[in-house]
């Protein structure tokens, strides 16, 4: 028995191919990116070592700082608008209302759809001349509110948050719903017997017991906001006039449009570190609480 499951050849055959692909494609590139980030390099020939100059430049560049600010706003919108709504829906659905399964299925559909499709769809919704939003506003007599949502600086950023918030409400709802459902029914019975109202039960019992899943949702929404690329890239490309630019679209244009490989890599390393630091902070925060 033991000799069969300690067979070194079998272990090598089972593990080595995976490890090779994984290390080569996922792990090693992080170090390569870090190396690129200290170079002044346009992809041709050898780059010149410039130390941390790329990072210094990033923190002085108003365009980069603006993109970082946007990603923080994105995270804030997700935390303060999306997550509360998801929590509300999850709590309602977990309290065995009629049509529970149906609503859960419907709310979740946008999660599965490609962000490219979502972005194209919303660019049509926002279309200044024929879009759904402006048509709707005109039909309910608010035509003075109709405008070119993605084409002007003051509305473009908020307009590019909304599709993401809309798309992933169902995702967080599902996770929170699973969290709420995994709480033992006895506790709710006890609360009911003590005469606690539904709302009190939610705040005093359900939500505190959902902490582990709320932590996961918080991490996902913050990290997701820092990494957001597809939606902005397709919907606005970062425009108008960089108004909706986020770090990953800036990274992309820096590398593939202006060929500043070193500077672009510095931005990508910044994104990784940012994600790592905030994951640790959120975990710490939930531990001490």
């Amino acid at each position: 028995m033991n000799s069969v499951f300690s067979n070194k050849t079998a272990i090598a055959i089972f593990v080595l191919p995976t490890l090779l692909i994984f290390c080569g494609i996922v792990l090693v590139p992080i170090f390569v990116s870090s190396y690129y980030s200290v170079l002044d390099w346009n992809g041709v020939g050898k780059g010149a070592f410039i130390g941390l100059d790329n990072y210094v430049e990033m923190f002085k560049d108003p365009r980069a700082l603006h993109s970082i600010r946007n990603s923080f706003l994105f995270a804030a919108a997700s935390i303060f608008i999306q997550l509360p709504l998801s929590l509300l829906l999850a709590l309602i659905l977990a309290s065995s209302v009629k049509g529970e399964g149906f609503y859960r299925t419907v709310y979740f559909i946008p999660v599965l759809i490609s962000t490219v499709v979502i972005a194209q769809l919303w660019s049509k919704i926002y279309n200044a001349d024929y879009g759904l939003l402006n048509t709707l506003l005109e039909n309910i007599g608010l035509s003075e509110l109709a405008q070119d949502w993605l084409g002007q600086k003051k509305t473009a950023l908020a307009a590019s948050f909304i599709p993401t918030l809309w798309q992933y409400v169902g995702y967080h709802m599902l996770l929170m719903y699973a969290g709420a459902k995994s709480i033992s029914q006895d506790i709710f019975e006890a609360a009911k017997i003590d005469g606690a109202s539904r709302i009190r039960t939610a705040f005093a019992i359900t939500i505190p017991l959902m902490k582990p899943i709320l932590k996961v949702c918080l991490v996902f929404s913050v990290i997701g906001a820092f990494k957001v690329f597809d939606l902005v890239y397709v919907l606005t490309g970062g425009g108008p006039l960089f108004a909706t630019e986020v770090p990953s679209t800036l990274m992309y244009t820096t590398i593939f449009n202006t060929y500043r490989y070193g500077y672009g890599s510095a931005i990508s390393v910044f994104i990784i570190l940012e994600c790592l630091v905030f994951t640790v902070i959120i975990n710490k925060f939930f531990k001490t609480e």
Binding site: T18, L19, I30, I92, S114, I125, V169, I272
Partner: protein, 286 residues
């Protein structure tokens, strides 16, 4: 006790509360689903109907020719086939590699098994941004840009951590006796794994397959960077070039977007319990 608590709650407000709750849930359902219905509608309309200000209603005449045009002139058939090929290949490779590795880590005896697991799980934290430029350079030097491999290899590599995690936790739950009796009957490690253990974890295989399907089918950043030859482009990138070509022809664009979306939604409607479970399993990673 129970009866007094219930007696304190008057019946009527509770009934009204239930109706208000249902109204709220229905409004949310409309918000979540109506944009997609709207997309389905305008994918069947011609420009004159869309631009006459009547963009929201059911199409007067179902214009299926939009779909035919998108598939042939819009090249969507080609994008679709590429997406299917890349996605299926990635799912198969992820399943083969990850199940073998997860098995060796959780069920076989060797010194570095825990270290290997930790290393692979670290991969779940790595955003693909980090790998984009280094991979681009490597693929360029190997002359692999504009091939299916330039997508399949990265998709597999980034799919491995989650898959090993999910499969590993299922392998842990298989009773030792299964393996013991297989070995007693004279099975070697390969036969035990492939014909006894693997069939036992079918639900986990389905979970990983669904997860990998969604991430490959919808992926954009690698696809837009590693491939610029139309012949090899997948749906996500294809949609972007199609929108550029048919700027004002919403019907055809809509048809393309629908073709991209329908497979995912169909799979979801057929397997919705399994899909929801997969997404939860993927999130709650310990």
């Amino acid at each position: 006790m129970l009866s007094t608590a219930e007696a304190r709650l008057p019946k009527r407000p509770q009934f009204i509360g239930k109706i208000l709750l249902q109204v709220f849930l229905i409004i949310m359902a409309i918000v979540q689903i109506y944009p997609l219905i709207w997309l389905a509608f305008f994918s069947l309309k011609d420009n004159s109907e869309i631009f006459s200000g009547d963009v929201a209603s059911f199409p007067k005449k179902l214009l299926w020719s939009n779909y035919a045009k998108a598939l042939s002139d819009g090249n969507v058939m080609n994008y679709f086939n590429n997406s299917v090929l890349v996605t299926v290949a990635s799912i198969l490779l992820v399943l083969i590699l990850s199940s073998m590795t997860a098995y060796a880590i959780t069920r076989m005896n060797w010194k570095l098994s825990n270290t290997t697991m930790t290393l692979i799980l670290l991969g779940m934290m790595v955003p693909i941004h980090a790998a984009l430029l280094p991979l681009f350079m490597v693929l360029k030097n190997l002359h692999l840009l504009n091939t299916y491999w330039s997508l399949i290899i990265p998709y597999v590599a980034f799919g491995i951590p989650m898959a090993v995690f999910i499969l590993g936790s299922f392998f842990k739950g298989v009773p030792r006796e299964m393996e013991e009796s297989a070995v007693m009957d004279g099975c070697g490690v390969y036969r035990t794994f492939f014909s006894i253990i693997l069939p036992l974890i079918r639900p986990a295989i389905a979970t990983v397959a669904i997860f990998t399907f969604l991430s490959c089918w919808n992926e954009l950043m690698f696809a837009v960077t590693f491939i610029n030859d139309t012949h090899f482009q997948t749906l996500t990138v294809g949609m972007m070039s199609m929108v550029g070509t048919y700027i004002t022809q919403w019907g055809i664009i809509g048809a393309g977007l629908m073709i991209t979306t329908v497979p995912t939604v169909l799979i979801y409607l057929l397997l919705n319990k399994q899909v929801q479970k997969s997404m939860i399993a993927g999130a709650v990673k310990g």
